[in-house]
């Protein structure tokens, strides 16, 4: 299949694998993008050609081996090709979160000494032009979408199409260029630098190699039997390790098709259209979907509600067994079959999940109800565990042995140890090569034996399953010596549909208290059904009825905690409902939407104080940034409520 003009696909780097795909499965669709109303498609052969042209164009513009290439934008084919283009001529792509604030961006641009950036559209160009003076090395900004770019005459700005054009000229002059460059690439070269959004420190660039990407992708492929006729929807940020592994490396290694949604508003529609076979989503997405299901079913006719309730009951007691391949009585099998016709099948279809062979979630804990809901309606949802530094390759739940309280068993080639304070230490084929230009951090993160310190506390049970409790550094103690695992509590709280975010305090204090963020949709819907009027978020959050509702939730958590020896002492004593949503723009959350607990504790110090001094209300005024960049303040008198605590082991009786 190889013709003389095509570069020799050695296959030990991601970029060379693309050319190998072009040779082996050239006509097969590699990537699609919903654009102009239909799914525009490119075959592997076309992709290889595009990559070649872009790489040559970059080279023609002075991009050389060892240069880093910033990539910013939504998931777009041309941006994915940018990864490959830079890799094929020995560069390293550095994807950035497009909603990152200017300071973060400037930091990364300077840290990675970025000279070239490929961005999606005018919005990104404007952003980069704004920070251009502070980014010393940045000299070339390439944009994909020409919309609105007509009058930009800045010398640094050029169009993707022009670069490609340049590339085609360059190629006619040096037809062997790409081939030669590809051959110069080594499998142990760094293939990508992913910046982690540190909760406390400046971002660190995680350097991953071609070898680790390929080995991890092969490991995953073997573990869950990926085939090249699969489909995935790539809608998670390209700068996130999960997307890089799944939508880029995995697609290249396995040869399945990547689909890019039309826009962020149409992701759900596009998901339904594509009906992916492999799917990854953080628990938050699954949770939103379930909330939508619940809300939509509220308005259904009684017959449908009955049918839904009835068969969801069947799914609850039978679905998991069927999914796990355990024996089920004939009656239940028939009932489940009927349910599949009337409820589960249509439901999966409406969620765009009819064709899913395996779905993953990870990055945060998933609620047990949520988890079993999806599994019981026939979606093979599994948890996985990993970090950017391990290329998300540590543990996965194996088929037939998926347990809600564990993140699965170690993947092939992975070695796990438990260190101090229960910290999980990992050796994985996906392990980072180093932190970019940060040997200190590298040394700190990797032990002498080559284990990566995950910073998570957990243990391996007798069946070999890994269980995670909390961040190792977050595990604290109350004044009476009781163990306090804040994230564990917060996750338990967040499993309620009414609670969007929770922040628990208790380390070094007498009791556990918590901030709550309500889930506007669910609570609003609830309020409407109660006939409760409200004028907006602040008003709704302050309603005494809402407080009562959440008090119930919290007391239920307390009841659960009362069942467990070690944690029963860390029940929640007092809580308040925040008047605003915690927001990444206000630095209260990380870009991956994890709570920055310390920052929040400091910012809302008054409230924390009020929680512990027994006040009934507390006045707070907060600065907020709006979406358009303006800022303002919102203020409110927040009520503080007490929750009932249950003595150990009386959880059941109550």
């Amino acid at each position: 299949m190889l013709d003389s003009s095509s570069p020799n696909p050695r296959g030990d780097t991601l970029s060379s694998l693309i050319f190998k795909n072009a040779a082996n499965r050239g006509a097969k669709t590699a990537i699609r993008e919903k654009d102009l109303g239909i799914w525009q498609s490119w075959s592997w052969a076309e992709v290889a050609e595009e990559v070649k042209l872009l790489a040559s164009g970059l080279a023609a513009n002075g991009y050389v081996r060892g240069n880093n290439l910033a990539i910013i934008g939504d998931n777009r084919p041309r941006l994915y090709w940018s990864f490959a283009a830079s890799q094929s001529i020995g560069g390293v792509p550095v994807p950035l979160y497009q909603d990152a604030i200017a300071d973060e961006m400037i930091y990364v641009f300077n840290d990675a000494e970025i000279e070239f950036a490929i961005v999606e559209d005018q919005e990104q160009v404007d952003k980069l032009l704004e920070i251009l003076p502070q980014c010393e090395k940045l000299k070339c900004i390439i944009y994909d979408d020409p919309r609105g770019m007509r009058h930009y005459d800045h010398p640094a700005v050029m169009a993707y199409a022009d670069v490609r054009e340049l590339g085609s000229k360059f190629l006619t002059e040096q037809p062997k260029f790409i081939e030669d460059e590809l051959n110069k690439c080594h499998t142990d070269d760094v293939s990508v630098i992913l910046y982690t959004s540190g909760t406390t420190s400046k971002p660190k660039g995680v350097c991953l190699t071609h070898k680790s990407c390929i080995e991890v992708a092969q490991g995953d492929m073997g573990f869950d039997n990926y085939t090249d006729d699969g489909e995935i929807l790539s809608y998670l940020p390209m700068a996130w390790v999960g997307d890089h592994l799944f939508s880029y490396a995995q697609s290249i290694v396995t040869g399945f098709t990547v689909n890019c949604p039309e826009s962020s508003e149409t992701v759900m529609i596009d998901l339904r259209e594509i009906g992916p076979t492999y799917y990854f989503a953080p628990p938050r997405v699954f949770e939103n979907l379930l909330t939508q299901v619940t809300i939509r079913m509220e308005d259904a006719s009684n017959i449908k509600k009955w049918l839904f309730g009835k068969f969801m009951g069947v799914a609850r007691h039978t679905g998991l067994d069927i999914m796990d391949g355990k024996p089920v009585s004939l009656k239940n099998k028939i009932l489940y079959g009927l349910g599949n016709i009337f409820v589960y099948g249509p439901l999966r279809n409406n969620l765009g999940m009819s064709r899913i062979k395996v779905a993953y979630t990870g990055g945060a804990a998933i609620g047990p109800d949520l988890y079993s809901f999806y599994r019981s309606i026939g979606i093979n949802l599994k948890q996985l565990y990993g970090q950017t530094e391990t290329l998300a390759y540590v543990c996965k739940q194996p088929d037939g042995d998926a347990r809600i309280d564990s993140v699965g068993t170690p993947m092939p080639g992975v070695d796990i140890k438990v260190g101090d304070k229960g910290e999980i230490l990992v050796k994985s084929p996906g392990l980072l090569k180093e932190y970019y230009k940060n040997p200190g951090a590298t040394k700190e993160a990797i032990t002498a034996e080559g284990f990566f310190k995950t910073g998570d506390a957990g243990f391996i049970d007798q069946d070999g399953h890994l269980k995670i409790i909390d961040r190792a550094k977050d595990v604290g103690v109350l004044n009476d010596g009781t163990m306090f695992a804040p994230q564990f509590l917060e996750n338990k709280l967040k499993f309620f549909p009414f609670i969007k975010e929770a922040v628990c305090f208790g380390d070094g204090r007498d009791a556990v208290c918590t901030f709550i963020n309500i889930e506007m949709d669910a609570v609003g819907n609830w309020a409407e059904r109660q006939g409760l009027g409200y004028s907006g978020y602040v008003d709704l959050a302050g309603k005494s009825e809402v407080y009562a509702l959440l008090q119930e939730c919290i007391e239920q958590v307390n009841q659960d905690l009362a069942m467990e020896d070690t944690l029963s002492g860390s029940q929640i004593k007092r809580f308040l409902i925040l008047h605003k949503e915690l927001d990444a723009d206000d630095d209260e959350l990380t870009r991956t939407r994890k709570v920055r607990r310390d920052f929040v504790a400091e910012k809302y110090g008054v409230l924390v104080k009020a929680l512990y001094d027994g006040s009934k209300t507390c006045f707070i005024e907060t600065q907020v940034k709006f979406e358009d960049g303006r800022s303002g303040t919102i203020s409110a008198d927040l009520a503080i409520s007490d929750a009932k605590m249950i003595p150990f082991n009386q959880g059941l009786a109550a």
């Binding site: 102009l36 109303g37 919309r147 009058h151 039309e262 826009s263 149409t266 529609i269």
Partner: protein, 263 residues
């Protein structure tokens, strides 16, 4: 604004002494003005000043009782609306005039009617030219949908859309004809600030990207001052001002008649 590097072309449209009356009620009296190629001209004035009537004269819905319109160098007294469309004049309406029973896609597709030529028999059988044409024009329409960022509603019946989006679809339908001259009758009426900002951007982009000449009627003075190269002020069917936004802002007669009393 990129006013400086935008080159206005020669005169595209010239209204000469237009007068129009309905059964004795004078709607327009002796109005004259010109529009240059690639210009954005705003017509302002209090309600009932004859602004919409002026647009209606330009695209042939009303026939003036006196005066003439010169368009692309051709003088005419009367013209049917569909002839105006053929000449590259498209417009939107004060009260949305979308085709309620059709989807967004189909509505914009109607804007391409004049560019289609498949024969009747081909259409019956949906073969050859008829089908290729549908596909070819669908692509054009999708570009407009993309331009106006209404991808998520392309197959929604327009009747179900909120007001602001309907206005956008109507603009899309007008754009589908790839007009030389675009007449916009209060494109931002009834919109909130955010929608107005979006619409202003679209209008500027249309002018900028496609070089379309635009004549628009608008009440929001902020928008008018930002968008237009030149402003014509009407009052009771008479022209009382004509000049750049800065000139209009300082025109005493205009201030007395209009700017002073309205916001």
């Amino acid at each position: 604004m990129n006013d400086n590097d935008r080159k206005l072309g020669p005169t595209l449209l010239k209204a000469d002494n237009i007068s129009l009356a309905f059964g004795g009620v004078k709607a327009l009296t002796d109005i004259s003005f010109e529009v240059k190629e690639r210009e954005v001209l705003a017509i302002i004035g209090p309600n009932g000043a004859g602004k919409s009537s002026m647009l209606n004269v330009i695209n042939g819905v009303y026939h003036p009782n006196a005066g003439s319109v010169t368009y692309k160098g051709t003088v005419r007294q009367q013209m049917k609306p569909h002839e105006a469309a053929k000449q590259g004049i498209a417009r939107t309406f004060q009260n949305i005039a979308l085709f309620k029973g059709m989807s967004v896609l189909d509505n914009i597709m109607t804007g391409r009617t004049l560019k289609m030529s498949a024969g009747f028999l081909a259409q019956c059988l949906y073969v050859g030219r008829a089908r290729n044409e549908e596909i070819e024009h669908r692509k054009k329409v999708e570009e407009i949908i993309d331009f106006l960022q209404i991808q998520s509603i392309r197959k929604t019946p327009v009747g179900r859309l909120p007001y602001g989006l309907q206005k956008r679809v109507e603009l899309g339908r007008a754009l589908a004809a790839e007009p030389t001259l675009l007449l916009l009758d209060e494109p931002m009426a009834g919109m909130n600030i955010e929608e107005k900002e979006d619409m202003s951007r679209f209008i500027l982009d249309v002018n900028d990207e496609f070089g379309t000449t635009i004549v628009l009627i608008e009440h929001d003075m902020g928008v008018v001052m930002d968008l237009s190269d030149r402003i014509v002020v009407l009052d009771y069917g008479k022209k009382i001002g004509d000049g750049t936004p800065a000139e209009i802002r300082n025109n005493k007669e205009v201030i007395d008649a209009y700017l002073g009393v309205s916001d």
